[in-house]
């Protein structure tokens, strides 16, 4: 076998090995009706049929049929289907990494109830096993394993940020506090682009009287293993945070503005370690909602009511599959009761911003993700919204770039900063 044949075989083996009842039943249930196409922002914005969600799973389907079904074996034998080759792998690497944000919108639309995005995750894993993952994502993975953050930020840089935060606050930040209730974990996106989040969240925690802590050993909730579909990397990175949470004996981990980091810790981590971990994983949006409901956080009513119209962007991992729909709305209805408007497609129906799932990091995907963003911009226009607020840093960056790209006037806000501003300390 040649080197490329060996790699193709690796991908194939990976697919075949990872087929269980869950995958098999879903592959077999698909009636090829094509309805999922109209769920996907990449298909809707470009009309390219290859962006149909289930088409992105084609490699896995072929591998499954060729190895598990009589008809599939027959079809390959008489030449109606061909084995997966290097060209296929390169082609689907583009479809699955650049034209899918793993936003799970399609999974809600399929009439058969197929979790298409879940299957796409498996295809990504197979592509990674075949070394076909976009180089930028691999470089970020290497960085995170070696230095702690995908952009190469190391402990010293984080420590400097924390120190800066203390100066801004005029008081020290709780570090590695044993017996604290909440361990707060940020991401490198905040470190680089939304530095103030540190100060905002510290103020919110203090105002609510929460016993909380930070740790330099559990500093970045980003998880490149989730993005590229490498279980071993995913586990290694999650372990950094899980270990510290165990050690400090916290009741919960608070993930700040990061979608995939949140679902990785809340869902995947338990399964990676094969046990139900003894702490909750809570998103900052949910926590702020709880604080307000419990009366621990007082917000100035109508603080953001002005001539602007503010809408809320539901993030895929935090809202659609995280379920945190109500907290942001309760908060916005308090601080901006008349300025706040819903987009027509909201909650689980919301369109993805177009930048999730690692897509925003891939330079080659820029044009496509801007196409996808145009749907979101149209959603805002439909309800005459000037400003948009959200609780994911990655979405925020995508919105900022999208606003610039399409020359849209308006503000992109984080819910955290709004709460911090409207809060009575």
């Amino acid at each position: 076998m040649s080197a490329t044949e060996i790699i193709d075989q690796q991908a194939l083996n990976f697919f075949v090995k990872n087929v269980g009842a869950e995958v098999a039943s879903q592959l077999e249930a698909c009636t090829r009706c094509g309805l999922c196409a109209d769920a996907c922002h990449f298909y809707i914005s470009t009309g390219n049929p290859e962006y149909t969600p289930i088409w992105k799973v084609e490699l896995l389907r072929r591998a499954y049929e060729q190895n598990y079904t009589i008809l599939g074996k027959l079809k390959t034998a008489i030449g109606l289907d061909k084995r997966i080759d290097t060209e296929d792998i390169a082609h689907w690497a583009v479809l699955d990494f650049q034209a899918c944000t793993v936003c799970k919108r399609c999974s809600f639309v399929c009439p058969m109830g197929i979790d298409i995005a879940g299957l796409i995750g498996k295809v990504r894993a197979g592509l990674t096993a075949a070394h076909a993952t976009p180089p930028k994502l691999m470089a970020m993975t290497k960085n995170q394993l070696e230095k702690g953050s995908p952009d190469g930020s190391d402990e010293a840089k984080w420590a400097a940020w924390f120190k800066w935060g203390e100066e801004q606050l005029g008081k020290s930040l709780p570090m590695d506090v044993k017996g604290a209730d909440s361990l707060v974990v940020f991401t490198m996106l905040e470190l680089n682009s939304f530095r103030n989040n540190l100060v905002h969240i510290a103020r919110i925690m203090n105002a609510a009287g929460e016993k909380w802590t930070l740790s330099l050993r559990a500093r970045d909730a980003f998880n490149m293993g989730t993005v590229i579909g490498d279980g071993a990397v995913q586990k290694k990175l999650a372990e950094r945070i899980v270990k510290v949470a165990h050690e400090l004996g916290v009741k919960r981990i608070i993930v700040t503005e990061c979608g995939h980091g949140y679902v990785t810790l809340r869902q995947a981590a338990h399964n990676l370690f094969g046990e139900t971990l003894p702490f909750d994983v809570v998103h900052i949006t949910e926590l702020m909602g709880d604080f307000v409901r419990q009366g621990r956080l007082k917000l100035r009513k109508g603080y953001f009511d002005n001539e602007h119209r503010i809408t809320y962007h539901d993030a895929c991992k935090i809202q659609r599959i995280g379920g945190n729909f109500d907290s942001p709305r309760e908060i916005l209805n308090l601080i901006a009761p008349s300025s706040f408007v819903e987009m027509n497609l909201n909650r689980e129906q919301s369109f993805c911003c177009g930048g999730g799932g690692g897509v925003r990091a891939i330079p080659e995907a820029y044009d496509l993700r801007m196409e996808a963003f145009s749907l979101k911009a149209a959603q805002m226009r439909e309800v005459d919204a000037t400003d948009v607020v959200m609780s994911c840093s990655n979405c925020r960056l995508q919105f900022k770039e999208g606003f610039e790209h399409f020359r849209i006037q308006g503000e992109v806000k984080g819910l955290v900063e709004m709460v911090a501003e409207a809060m009575i300390e």
């Binding site: 087929v19 269980g20 869950e22 077999e28 249930a29 309805l35 809600f108 009439p111 058969m112 338990h270």
Partner: protein, 223 residues
């Protein structure tokens, strides 16, 4: 034994056997591949999710647009899919001759609809199928997703409907016995074909829907 007797008798029994054994095999094969346990703590009830997804998914809601308003969502595919399946179920279960066939297999019967109604449902079903096929030919997504298997499925399901229709209306002046034999042949062939094809989705549907409801119910999200 003439052809009609053969297709109604031994061939039908063989077809039924292939169908039942085939479906049991497909079901067991999938289920026995094994499920992974989910250790993540639930945020909502999996059972409630399952109930919700069936309430939404059955009752033909899967075929009614627009489940996600605002997406372009091919209302035609939804409506045509609904017409086809609803028509098919009514014809299979609520027409007198088919109920009699079921009675001979199951040993009990049930009330049926008057023939003109059945006629209407059969027509609706076929029109639905023709729309679905046109969509597969016309739309780029449909073309891309349609392979040999989808064509064969369409033909294998359409022929019993068509031959039944011809039989009922005594079309083309063919002898009754001949058309009946053709109808029975197409039915036998459908039964044999199902376990080997994606038409088995009527079974996998219940696996995937249940999984869907349980998964999202557990996450605390409306499935």
């Amino acid at each position: 034994m003439d052809w009609l007797e053969f297709f109604r008798g031994p061939m039908f029994q063989i077809a039924l056997l292939v169908f039942i054994l085939g479906m049991v095999y497909r079901f067991l094969r999938i289920v026995l591949m094994g499920w992974k346990k989910d250790y993540s703590p639930p945020r909502g009830s999996a059972a409630a999710g399952v109930v919700k997804t069936y309430v939404k998914g059955l009752g033909f809601l899967p075929f009614l647009p627009p489940k996600f308003p605002g997406t372009r969502h091919r209302p035609l595919t939804y409506i045509a899919g609904g017409m086809f399946h609803l028509g098919l179920f009514v014809v299979i279960f609520l027409s007198t001759p088919h109920m009699e066939a079921w009675r001979s297999v199951l040993g009990f019967g049930w009330p049926t609809l008057p023939t003109p109604f059945i006629d209407g449902f059969a027509a609706m079903s076929m029109i639905g199928m023709i729309i679905l096929l046109s969509n597969r030919i016309v739309s780029p997504v449909g073309r891309m997703l349609t392979g040999l298997g989808e064509w064969l499925n369409w033909i294998v399901v359409f022929l019993p409907l068509l031959s039944g229709w011809v039989l009922y209306h005594h079309l083309f002046g063919m002898p009754y016995q001949t058309i009946f034999a053709i109808h029975m042949f197409t039915v036998d062939w459908l039964l044999i074909w199902i376990p080997f094809s994606r038409i088995s989705h009527f079974m996998t549907y219940f696996i995937t829907r249940t999984m869907h409801g349980a998964k999202f119910g557990r996450l605390g999200v409306e499935p």
